[in-house]
Amino acid sequence: MNPNIVETINVAREVAWLPWAVQYLFLIGLSYGAWLLSLPGVVFRRPGWAGISRLALLGALVCGLAAPVALLADLHQPGRFWHFYAYFTPTSWMSWGAFFIPVYLGGLLIYAWLAFRPELARHAQSGGKLAGMAGVLAYGGHESRGALKAAALLAFIGAALVALYTGAEVAVVQARPLWNTPLLPLQFFVTAFAGAVGLVLLFNRYSVRDEAANRRLAGVLAATQAVALAVGALWLALGVSGISPVHARALAEVGPSANWQLSALWAVAATVLTLVLAWKRPGSGLLIGLLALHSAWMMRWSIFIGGQEVPKTGAGYYTYSLPLGPEGLMGIVGTAGLWVFLFVLITTLLPLDRLAAGADDNAAA
């Protein structure tokens, strides 16, 4: 900071992408990450993965359905969302995103339905809550591997496009050096996937507490944390060395701020802690699961909200304080509430325990 210049009058621009946007990126990231985790068990039928993959698919579904609501709420004119489809603009990643989201969600829904049909039929027979609805949804309850694989392909294309656009949309904003780095999409992806592992760890913990699944997930989580640290180190190295001017600019923008130093320290400490615990104490499923989810959320919060606290022309930093209304805290609470509602609804039809445990038939196949 140059002590010879003091800004006495200027405008403070407000945060324009609200906490809703953080929630959207968090949930959609968890969703595609969890969807990836559903592949080994559901599609490839890898032994020992059936329970994990079904729980992951549940997570992908709940997060995937909640995410677009948060996205809509971040628009200041939500009623006009159809404009995205009426006025396609190929130069805008956000415009593409409006088309990628339905591809992913469509693929995910068909895929989940095909994967869970036998389970739904089972639930209908068991006569539990909403058994009638489960029976209708099961629509015979047949398994159709060919259709499942086709749906998986569609969902894969959708997931890849969503992961690409959510990262690119932010990374192309040259006006915000902190966002404008080619590593950002990768960082979003790695933390999203790690968060998804964390979510499945929690599901496992609150259902069958399958130790083998827990260890397997802990191993995957440790790997993600190692990758996250490596990418972070690369980011820093590129910035410090000046090899990459965009990274140097990003570092210069936030480096001098004490708040940012604290955030960075926090992120590194949480990642190292998760890595060490997942590796050395894989049994601590609940703790490492929560840590991974927390890191995924914090990363998005700091980059998104923190990034908007950096004035583009003015001196110093803006300070953001979370408003309590719909443009702030209620956005976070609201999406969390929606998530819980969807979770309760879906697990009534597809109880957690059954998803996690009723696995052997698949695994054996």
Binding site: V6, V11, R13, Y87, T89, A98, E327
Partner: protein, 252 residues
């Protein structure tokens, strides 16, 4: 100083011209500086631009206020503002001086706010003014993020992207932007850069050696030009943050 600045001193009659213009009296000397009749405005031949002579700005914020009045800008939001800095002086007996910098949308010729808009609501008019189609804007704020000058904001009253329009409604009617009209120091000059014969183009040409734009390295090709722009203020200002910052009230 040099020839250019003398010419700019010579630009002082603009304020007189402004008053005459209000009375509807045709003014020959500053005709090109002023927006011509509406009929001409529709030919699409003009390219509107602004020249700000920082040396003449007295930091009175008359432009800030007149813009708010003219455009019903909600409380706490600004389409233009005169950023004010206290700068330590080394070559004077005084400890510090004041530096003022009027800011507004630059109506860039290569505007980063346009390609990001997912519904093509932000567009460039034929006369160079960067505008937002309020009927189409979904309020996604992508343009707010993409503008490197913090020129945009979401208007809480309308839920849409908002920014300086060069007072397009006035320009279309043959009037000057409100800020230019009210500028006490005669620091803001508005005109058509395409009219090579005109006064505005001549002023720009004369000032060429000292003409600067904000953040030139981004190649946004701003249409707001500055005379007397100190290097330390062309980008993000390195200094201590604002002591007083207006904040818009939560949704009124």
């Amino acid at each position: 100083m040099n020839k250019a600045s003398q010419n700019l001193q010579g630009a002082a009659p603009v304020s007189v011209a402004r008053r005459n213009f209000l009375r509807g009296v045709p003014v020959v000397t500053a005709a090109a500086v002023l927006a011509p009749a509406p009929a001409i405005a529709s030919t699409g031949k003009q390219q509107w631009a602004m020249l700000i002579d920082v040396r003449k700005c007295i930091g009175c914020q008359a432009c800030t206020v007149s813009c708010i009045q003219e455009n019903a800008v909600p409380e706490g939001s600004f389409r233009t503002v005169v950023s004010t800095y206290s700068v330590k002086l080394t070559d004077s007996t005084q400890p510090a001086g004041t530096y003022v910098l009027p800011r507004l949308c630059n109506h860039c010729d290569n505007p980063p706010c346009i390609p990001v808009c997912p519904v093509s609501a932000t567009y460039k008019r034929e006369d160079g003014i960067v505008a937002v189609d309020g009927d189409r804007c979904v309020g996604c704020a992508y343009c707010v993020q993409a503008c490197p000058y913090d020129a945009r904001f979401i208007n809480h009253d309308t839920g849409k992207a908002d920014k300086c329009t060069f007072c397009a409604h006035r320009v279309d009617a043959g009037l000057l932007p409100a800020c230019v009209e009210t500028c006490v120091g005669g620091a803001r000059i508005f005109g058509d850069i395409n009219n090579s014969e005109g006064e505005f183009a001549r002023l720009l040409k004369d000032a060429q050696p000292q003409l600067k734009v904000l953040k030139p390295e981004l190649e946004t090709a701003p249409r707001v030009f500055y005379i007397g722009l100190d290097e330390r203020f062309t980008g993000k200002v390195e200094g201590q943050g604002t002591l007083w910052k207006p904040r818009s009230l939560p949704h009124a």
